[in-house]
């Protein structure tokens, strides 16, 4: 998936501006950056749920799965919510396994609209991971989960990426998660792709002062 001149302007303010970048197939990317640096805007643009400024080009994506930062549990039973993402028998098997691993079985009869933040995130993650995508975009999927749940979610994410060989783009505030999942890392700063490279190197030996500053206070849990 390649992007060119990708920018987004809200009310005269340019909140994202990336001249060019190529996401390689079968590679896991972690996207980090401060609040408001444009991570969710990038995720939305790549997922095609908002239009980019004129002149932008996104090419070679294929099928894109996307879990928004503010994912919804639909007002159906959790079981029916899970079934929404299922289009064939294989997806059904994946969905059942994910639901079990993420602890959704106990919630199967609950109304998807009445779940807690963490429960909703588990549901949304299971729904999107059940699909088969060329590009999978997850916007802070574990931010609302407790630590054990987040670690289990990471295992599910890793397994699904390995099974499908998709391009994974994971937005996260947890540097430890960025390190465990990301092979490559992107640091966004004020809407710009400030620094990118192998995750290990960017997270531990950032080149630019802003990146260093941002990572300094992070805990690698």
């Amino acid at each position: 998936m390649e992007i060119r001149h990708l920018s987004k302007t809200y009310g005269g303010k340019r909140v994202l501006d990336i001249p060019a970048f190529a996401f390689e197939p079968n590679t896991r990317y972690a996207v980090i950056g401060a609040n408001g640096s444009g991570k969710s805007t990038l995720a939305r643009l790549l997922a095609g749920v908002i239009p980019a400024d004129p002149g932008a080009a996104i090419s070679g994506g294929g099928s894109v799965g996307y879990m928004p930062q503010k994912s919804l549990g639909f007002r159906l039973s959790v079981r029916r919510n899970l079934r929404l993402g299922v289009r064939d028998a294989q997806a059904g098997e994946r969905s059942a396994r994910l639901a079990a691993e993420l602890g959704l079985d106990a919630l199967a009869k609950r109304d998807g609209g009445s779940l807690s933040g963490g429960e909703t995130a588990k549901l949304a993650l299971a729904r999107v991971l059940a699909g088969r995508w060329d590009v999978l975009i997850l916007d802070e999927p574990t931010a609302a989960m407790d630590v054990p749940a987040a670690l289990r979610a990471e295992e599910c994410i890793l397994r699904c990426q390995r099974e499908t060989g998709c391009t994974l783009i994971l937005v996260t505030h947890a540097f430890g998660q960025a390190e465990r999942i990301g092979q490559q890392a992107l640091f966004l700063h004020e809407g710009q792709l400030w620094e990118h490279g192998p995750a290990e190197q960017l997270l531990h030996h950032p080149l630019r002062p802003e990146t260093r500053q941002f990572l300094r206070f992070g805990a690698f849990a």
Binding site: V49, Y66, L72, L84
Partner: protein
């Protein structure tokens, strides 16, 4: 006063053919017009809040204006359209239940449209984003959006039904309050009060209140279950 009340209760326990005719005409009119308003108002409200097209804002403002349309003005317009010199005279709608239903539809459809437009607007973005991310198509997304707003849809319907039951200005002009034909509860109350017959008026008033209570109980129960 007390004797009128006793008489009214007596009448409710042993209803006359006249009372039953008024009741059935009222229910017919209110059910038909509120169902039609629902069938028209939900798609219109959904279109106004989900689609982006030129003139959308103007239509939203127009709808809000129609929400405030005084019933007698609606009655006047319908009267002029249906009367012997009006463009719709060949349909013979004046002083008929279908004519009253049309007047009611004009009055209450904007209510349903307005409620849908604003409530869908609140949830549509998040539903669309989540659904698109799962690769769901437009049809499923629309159904999910409506499902997220099912409580608002039902309560909009009940509100439209309540309005249709309680409305008097337009239906008296278009219907003419003809006994055993177009006389509904509100127009009957006016008529019998003018004649000094408070008993029938009072029994109808009590019935209207009971129906309003039932509608609001239904809304409350739905809110408890769904909201």
């Amino acid at each position: 006063m007390a004797s009128s009340l006793m008489g009214a209760l007596e009448l409710l326990l042993h209803p006359t053919p006249m009372l039953l005719s008024i009741l059935s005409t009222t229910l017919q009119m209110a059910l038909l017009s509120s169902c039609a308003a629902l069938l028209l108002g939900v798609p219109l409200g959904a279109a106004l809040s989900l689609l982006r097209f030129p003139g959308r804002q103007a239509l939203v403002v127009l709808n809000r204006t129609l929400m405030g349309l005084p019933p007698v003005v609606c009655g006047l317009i319908c009267y002029m359209l249906f009367s012997g010199v009006g463009p719709l005279r060949q349909f013979k709608l004046l002083y008929t239940v279908p004519g009253m239903v049309i007047a009611q539809i004009i009055l209450i459809t904007p209510l349903v449209t307005g409620i849908m437009e604003s409530s869908l607007g609140h949830t549509a973005g998040a539903v669309r984003e989540t659904a698109r991310g799962m690769g769901l198509g437009g049809g499923v997304t629309l159904l999910l959006t409506l499902n997220e707003n099912r409580y608002q849809i039902i309560s909009a319907y009940l509100m439209a039904f309540g309005r249709a039951m309680a409305e008097v200005g337009a239906v008296s002009m278009v219907g003419g309050a003809i006994a055993y034909k177009t006389n509904v509860m509100t127009t009957a109350i006016m008529m019998y009060t003018n004649r000094g017959d408070f008993t029938l008026g009072l029994s109808l008033g009590i019935l209207l209140l009971l129906i309003s209570l039932a509608v609001n109980l239904a809304v409350w129960l739905l809110q408890k279950r769904w909201a």
